[in-house]
Symmetry: C2
Subunit: 294 residues, 2 copies
């Protein structure tokens, strides 16, 4: 069975593990802090690869940033990693075949092959964390767009320039549906500038009325975005992952989305793979890609 050295590159951490063709981790997971400079990031990659490349068939990166359509490098980084990160052709890092894909796309693919959206050709995965990531599968293929940058969940929720998004534009879905969005909704509704996401979730769990209202507002903002995506894509399923997904009520969202859309009924579900979905998806995509070519 083919084996892949999978490397998950985020703004703060880099993980690596060996993944087999069933999407199973067959080694321990190693964790590194993401260095702040391009040169040090590449050094970390080289160290990981030199330690493990002899044990695997392919190298697969799941990375932040938009990845090109040839899956060889990065189009642009997202601001949470060294600015000059994009310039490498990742194929130069190993003599083994190297595959690169965006982390949200990798996670969406892992859920599609072996997780919560298995068996469904049309799915959308949203990663609700500090920000919001998106991976979209149409007819069993990742939606990449003309250059590979598709799946960005920056569509507007308001027209009155209310919240500035991390992307620089106003009122994107991300700045409402993310963990940061929950915090900002909390600040607005409680008038407490120091309120945290933790305060809101804790308060809600203790039946604090204001905290419940804040939480519900946040969940309904997520709902508003899901309705739009469901009308645009007519998907089988929308998968929610990431640290904030644990708090949402997917039965409520499924029911409400289906009550509003003009397309056909779908399910909103939680991801089943979570933490290592990026590495698993990258490995499965790499195997699919290189098996197809060899």
């Amino acid at each position: 069975m083919k084996k892949v050295l999978a490397i998950d590159v985020g703004g703060t951490k880099i993980y690596n593990a060996i993944v087999n063709a069933n999407g199973e981790l067959v080694s321990d997971v190693e964790k590194h802090s993401t260095p702040s400079s391009y040169d040090d990031i590449i050094k970390t990659f080289r160290t990981i690869i030199s330690n493990y490349e002899n044990q695997v068939d392919y190298i697969a990166f799941s990375t932040c940033g938009a990845v090109n359509n040839t899956n060889t490098g990065i189009l642009g980084s997202t601001g949470n990693i060294a600015k000059d990160y994009p310039k490498t052709d990742f194929r130069s890092l190993s003599n083994k075949p190297v595959f690169v894909e965006n982390d949200a796309n990798c996670a969406a693919w892992a859920e599609y092959e072996i997780g919560a959206s298995k068996g469904f050709s049309n799915s959308i995965m949203l990663t609700l964390g500090t920000g919001v990531g998106g991976g979209i599968i149409v007819d069993g293929k990742l939606l990449k767009g003309k250059n590979g940058a598709a799946g960005e969940m920056h569509f507007k929720m308001r027209l009155d320039k209310h919240r500035k998004c991390t992307c620089g534009a106003w009122d994107c879905f991300e700045i409402y549906a993310s963990g940061n969005g929950l915090r900002l909704t909390g600040v607005e509704m409680s008038k407490n500038p120091d309120i945290t996401t933790y305060d809101i979730i804790e308060g809600k769990n203790k039946s604090d009325k204001l905290m419940q209202e804040i939480f519900n507002r946040w969940q309904n903002d997520i709902l508003a975005g899901l309705v739009g995506l469901a009308n645009i894509f007519d998907p089988d399923v929308i998968v929610l992952s990431g640290s904030m997904a644990q708090f949402v009520d997917t039965d409520y969202l499924t029911d409400k989305v289906n009550g509003e859309i003009v397309t056909t009924p779908l399910k909103v579900v939680k991801a089943s793979l979570e933490n290592y979905a990026g590495m698993i998806g990258a490995a499965l995509l790499a195997i699919r890609s290189f098996n197809g070519k060899s």
Copy 2:
């Protein structure tokens, strides 16, 4: 060269013409009023088909409503045509092969094969009329979704339940970007409940300041939607068609969209085929479909 009897079914009019494999109309265009009952609509179809089916290879429908993924019938109508319209398997209408596709999808396809988005594998077409239609092409294929209903431009522009959309939900793109949306923006900004789209366009052309502001607000609402679609799809081009598209400034929209998106630059252009794009696209899709199968 293959010839197709193309029939364009709208809520108020039914058009038909013979279209060849180059997308050229090779007959006059016939026009019928759309009957209000299912039985009379089918009678009109039968009359048109019996008059022309001997002159063509295939029959192709471009119709309002969502069309199934086998291109044989309708999933659901949109409220502007007889409610029981969906129930037919259109293949029963002729001994010649019959192909059915949604009208916005047909128009998007016509622009892709021979019109404004020719040569671009990733495009979005928006039909700005009384409502807003959408046809999306991803990697050279129509985006249909799990059941064929994809491409509905009902994503939210606001979260405060400001305008009810024709679909029954609140604040969809359609109720802001359509001709009806321009009128409602005019009503809100002028406090004149009787203002018409014509008044606004005329006033704007005569440099009336308020009418210019109303128009600009409407155009910026369209812009807000385009930014979201561009971030989701990373398309090569967004094509604007329909009766309201003539008024928008595509250079302005191109410039502003590219200034806001996190994906890669695209062009916003006007459609080049306009009125008969639906029939042309249906014919070209039918030829593609039946040639592939035979």
